[in-house]
């Protein structure tokens, strides 16, 4: 769009309600507005950050489920949000769509250099939640699929299910890297796993931490060309609003967070329908961070 001169110019989807809310009397540890994407894992991570920071005397405001990265990123940049739990690989791909970095170190290094000045990322945690292209066990055996490469020959007859924003992000890269062209891109969102099971899609974009993966007998296809980069949980901060209390606390969390614990927590949320806040609290307590 035309980012014209007037104050109303630019993308209206920027002007989220996440504008800094007034003059909060900065307590001991300052003030933080923590946002999250509109899926449960992000809400969970944000809640872990929030509760840990609160325990350190930071005044916290939560803005859960704001939307996709496209929306949230700009909020952090503009200072509307202070902290967002990010995934280093996708963040990098977002900042620099042409990147080829795939390994965690590589990604982190590149990310730190490419981020605009207003933003910073803290330590990446070992906990990882990768995007995958997954198929049902049936499909896998029938089409003898193992990796995304195998998909290229049959993808023209297949329907891909993913969140709505997935297409815009990946369509071109799938084509460039693996030569994938799907018959149709279906915006399935949270119902992707069910859709796979029912057969209304043949390939689905599912997170590795999604407990539905195992529950529904789905198989993630290997990604030999590392199109999906490392996806370690990494806090994204607005530099101006951050302080050392925040940095230390969040780095402390990242150090203890593992893929398994993420999986466990997601299991509780997704299957047991526990509240992300409760699950977060539990984890903090167990790890002596609450």
């Amino acid at each position: 769009a035309c980012g014209g001169g007037g104050s109303t110019g630019g993308n209206p989807l920027d002007s989220t309600s996440a504008a800094p809310s007034g003059s909060a009397s900065a307590g001991g540890g300052g003030k933080a507005v923590i946002g999250s994407f509109d899926f449960d894992e992000s809400v969970l991570l944000a809640s872990i950050y929030a509760q840990a920071l609160e325990a350190k005397g930071v005044q916290v405001e939560e803005k859960p489920r704001i939307g996709s990265r496209e929306v949230v990123y700009d909020q952090v940049k503009s200072g509307g949000l202070t902290i967002v739990p990010e995934y280093n690989g996708n963040l990098l791909a977002f900042v620099d769509p042409k990147t080829t970095a795939a390994a965690a170190d590589e990604v982190d290094t590149e990310l730190k250099s490419k981020l605009p000045a207003e933003l910073e990322v803290l330590d990446s945690s070992p906990a990882e939640d990768k995007d995958t292209l997954s198929v049902s066990k049936d499909t896998q055996t029938k089409q003898s699929l193992n990796s995304i490469e195998d998909l290229a020959k049959v993808s023209k007859d297949m329907v891909l299910g993913a969140p709505p924003e997935f297409k815009k992000r990946w369509q071109q890269r799938f084509k460039d890297v693996y030569g994938l062209e799907f018959k149709e891109w279906k915006p399935t969102g949270p119902t992707t796993a069910d859709a796979l099971k029912e057969g209304s899609i043949q390939v689905g974009n599912i997170f590795t931490t999604d407990p539905k993966m195992a529950a529904n007998n789905l198989v993630p296809l290997q990604d030999p060309k590392n199109i999906f980069a490392a996806q370690n949980v990494t806090p994204l901060l607005n530099k101006a609003a951050a302080n050392d209390t925040i940095r230390t606390t969040l780095n402390g969390i990242s150090a203890k967070l593992t893929t398994q614990s993420l999986l466990d927590m997601m299991q509780k949320i997704s299957v047991n329908k526990d509240e992300p806040a409760t699950v977060a609290k539990e984890w903090l307590t167990t790890n002596g961070l609450g």
């Binding site: 109303t8 489920r65 704001i66 949270p190 299957v271 806040a277």
Partner: protein
Amino acid sequence: MGDGPPSIWEWIGRNWDTGRVDSIRNLLTDHLTMSLVPILFALIVALPLGLASVRWRWLYQPTSGLMNVVYALPSLPVFMLLISVTGLSQTTVIIPLTFYGMAVLIPAVVDGLNSVPDHVRQSAVAMGFTPLRRLLTVELPIAVPVVLAGLRVVAVSSISLVSVGALIGQGGLGGLFTRAYQNPFMPPVIVGIVLIVALALVADGLLVLAQRLLTPWVRARKATTS
């Protein structure tokens, strides 16, 4: 925290008042704000517009035509278009709902005023009422039942329409639906639907009650005819 999903009652208990923005209680408050404010605004705007349309008859045709068009506009795209002006705020939901309310209330005010029998109006004139006094003490009171009937429709549909706002993150209880869809789980959906319907019924009931108190002459008529 046990294994397996909680029952709907457990779920309500856990989420009722967590002190977080998306606790059911907070959603309820948001929902009420976003539905009641438009009802109020619509009434405030529709009264003078309705009065004007009755006084200057040529005004009615274009006004009602426009309101007909407004009423036909689907809410979601209107919310979306409005984002460019008002951003992702409650206002974005409140403005269209106000217009939908007006689309129902303006005709209601006009019908209400037209429901004043001509002979009643004439007698008021003949008895020496000044125009303003006639409007306030004769015509408006007689129009009340029809206006209230319109207001009931507006109240109920506003309350249920607010939930669509969840798709732009401003849906009050509608937030329960998007959340439940993200992490497929029925209790929030049920709670959302039940609370919204209950809110609507309560609002409707209050308006019926208001009608009874305001218009005893109408209630009495019903009692004798049924």
